[in-house]
């Protein structure tokens, strides 16, 4: 899929999302959770960008900000040439047909009191796409597309298994023929044996419909499977962004290295040989990030400069971006 056209469909630059914290005598704003603190990336049409990182590093926040489910603090997001971050409400509502989201928890993301057909049909109804009969037809079509038996249309979400529920979520996302879908950990809540079904379905749909994905996950092995390029986040920033094969073969950022090495290998013979980089300590709080480089508190190759200056996020090799002082010299 390297032959994708070089025109990015999604362009995120210096996106910031800070959640205020209130405190003190008068409930003044006393600080903020810098959930996303200045990140930039592009996603090209038809490609899948994987976004990985530890829990709480801000992945979901990125995904939601990109679709403007949050009012962003700063930066801009353009999708298909239109500015999402600053669009007026009605305009935004129209643009929503272009971009959709698949959620982490298939149970939680479906309204337990609505029938499957209602759930999938909701976006259609919301955007007045066709008559009731046409909508119904489209819903059934979508159900076929994601591999759900048409007979299930009148059931409620709780009558389904996790994998099936996730398919309902996918069908809903597809309903309006979007170009761009944010998948926020669509497989994290699923059992191993079902994860693969969903990932395969996503890939198949991408091929068929030419979709563009932002695929958020903490499961590095799944991301490796599905993504074309991978961005690694740490504490609200992108540590490293590179094409998939590069990053898995030769991670540059110390955090990426540690992360990859920590993934256990389901094969004892390989597992034995894996050299683990065990990070010490816990992730700092995003409301009070360390000075300088975010990662300096846990970094095995920390230098003095890391505790002072924030490293710049820049291209160190063609297509490979890293934010680390170790790569200051290399250009």
């Amino acid at each position: 899929m390297l032959d994708t056209p070089k025109e990015p469909l999604v362009r995120v630059s210096n996106l910031k999302m800070h959640f205020p914290i209130y405190g003190g005598l008068l409930r003044r704003r006393t600080g903020e959770v810098k959930a996303v603190d200045g990140i930039s990336f592009d996603i090209f049409e038809g490609e899948t960008l994987g976004l990985v990182g530890e829990s709480g590093c801000g992945k979901s926040t990125v995904g939601r900000s990109v679709l403007r489910l949050y009012e962003v603090t700063g930066g801009s997001v353009t999708i298909d040439g239109r500015d999402i971050a600053h669009a007026a409400p009605e305009e935004l509502r129209k643009m929503r047909t272009q971009m959709q989201m698949i959620f982490q928890d298939p149970q939680a993301s479906l309204n337990p009191r609505m029938k499957v057909s209602e759930i999938i049909g909701e976006p259609l109804r919301e955007h007045h796409a066709g008559s009731a009969a046409e909508r119904r037809e489209r819903v059934l079509e979508l159900m076929d597309q994601v591999g759900l038996n048409r007979d299930f249309a009148n059931r409620y979400p709780h009558e389904f298994s996790g994998g099936q529920r996730q398919r309902i979520g996918i069908a809903r996302a597809l309903a309006l023929n979007p170009k761009f879908i944010v998948c926020d950990e669509p497989i994290a809540a699923l059992d191993v044996s079902i994860q693969a079904q969903v990932v395969n379905l996503l890939e198949e749909l991408q091929e068929r419909l030419g979709l563009t994905y932002l695929f958020i996950s903490h499961d590095l092995s799944m991301v490796r499977h599905i993504a074309d390029r991978v961005a690694v986040m740490y504490l609200g920033r992108i540590a490293e962004l590179a094409p998939r094969d590069d990053i898995y073969a030769e991670p540059l950022h110390p955090y990426t290295k540690a992360l990859l090495s920590a993934v256990p290998e389901p094969d004892p013979s390989v597992e034995e040989k894996v050299e683990r980089i065990i990070l010490a300590g816990d992730v700092p709080s995003p409301s009070n990030p360390p000075k300088g480089c975010n990662f300096c508190t846990r970094c095995p190759s920390v230098m003095d400069i890391c505790k002072r200056d924030e490293p710049e996020f820049r291209e160190v090799q063609p297509g490979r971006f890293v934010a680390c002082h170790l790569f200051n010299q290399t250009t």
Partner: protein, 341 residues
């Protein structure tokens, strides 16, 4: 925690001012009249004169302002003078005077406080003490016979109005039982009784039994239900399994691990219930002639005694706000997870 408390305290001031205004307007607008209960033999000109003398006819805002001043500025100073023997220059000023008794409202309230605290407070205590074990056992043995009975009794307790249960026990224990019997109980509470020795203590105990139990029945009903629910919530928590996995005795598991957690909401509910006991016991006070704050309020309402109604209601409001705050602070203290700052 400290700043939280301070902040909440500061926030209560405008709330209370607003409440006082609302109460004032409601009370003031009510059509009852301080001369309404006088005999018909008193002609209307005389009534008008009495009203004039009471200051009923002044403009509302003037009356409210005066009330504010008397309540917030004069009365506190008078109490300080009493307590410390200072002279704060209150001598010449008119205090908040009740229409009916022509005496300072605050003195009336102070006079009633002991009765109310004694009976209603004891009832609350007794009710809580009965409720907790019932709640705990019902939850631990959910759906057991004990639980079912507990549920039934507490629901009946909740649904039987005290004007009925009160009279019922009076008929049973004061009327049907001859008054020289050991089990006879007085039907009318003697508010002048003072406990000085064992005999007088026994009398006090006997005269408190019925009002206290009638009130406690209601309190027990509510608190035991709440305790049960809270215990049930906690009994299914993972940490209970952990405690069992550590090999702790059942007693420890329930009475240390579960109880402590369950008590957090219960304690706050108990704290929140305290202000309501002052006003909520009106009916029981009425039935047993425990002339406490509730009876004072009722008489004042019936007699169109605006200053008393206004002041009492406002004091209830202060109590509610205060105990709300206490409940919140208590929550913060009991539950280490809650940090208000």
């Amino acid at each position: 925690m400290f700043t939280f408390t301070i902040r909440r305290l500061i926030l209560t001031v405008p709330t209370l001012l607003f409440i006082s205004f609302v109460i004032f307007m409601i009370v003031k607008l009510s059509p009852s009249d301080p001369t309404g209960n006088l005999p018909l033999t008193i002609p209307s000109e005389v009534r008008e004169q009495i009203r004039e003398a009471l200051g009923v006819n002044k403009p509302l805002i003037v009356q409210y302002g005066l009330w504010l001043k008397q309540f917030f500025w004069l009365e506190p100073r008078i109490y300080l003078e009493h307590a410390f023997g200072w002279d704060l220059g209150t001598a010449g000023e008119t205090r908040l005077i009740s229409y009916q008794t022509r005496s300072p409202v605050m003195d009336l309230i102070m006079q009633r406080m002991p009765q109310t605290l004694m009976v209603v407070g004891t009832a609350y205590l007794v009710g809580t003490l009965i409720a907790l074990p019932i709640g705990i056992i019902s939850a631990y043995k959910q759906y057991s016979v004990f639980d079912q009975m507990g549920t039934l009794v507490s629901m009946i307790g909740f649904s039987v109005p005290p004007f009925f249960s009160g009279v019922l026990v009076i008929v049973l224990f004061s009327v049907m039982i001859p008054s020289d019997s050991y089990f006879w109980l007085p039907s009318i509470y003697d508010t002048t009784h003072e406990v000085t020795d064992w005999e007088s203590f026994k009398f006090q105990f006997r005269q408190m039994i019925m009002p206290v139990m009638v009130l406690a029945l209601q309190i027990t009903a509510q608190i035991s239900r709440f305790t049960r629910a809270s215990m049930l919530d906690n009994l299914n928590q993972d940490y209970v399994r952990t405690a069992r996995a550590k090999g702790m005795k059942e007693k420890t598991v329930v009475l240390v691990h579960v109880l402590r957690n369950s008590m957090i909401p219960v304690v706050t509910v108990i704290a929140l219930g305290i202000p309501s006991i002052f006003g909520g016991a009106i009916i029981t006070e009425q039935v047993f002639k425990v002339n406490g704050l509730g009876q004072l309020l009722i008489i004042a309402i019936q007699g169109g005694d605006v200053p008393t109604v206004q002041t009492l209601t406002f004091i209830f409001a202060i109590l509610i706000v205060l105990f709300n705050l206490i409940a919140d602070v208590l929550y913060g203290i009991l539950d280490p997870r809650i940090r208000y700052d």
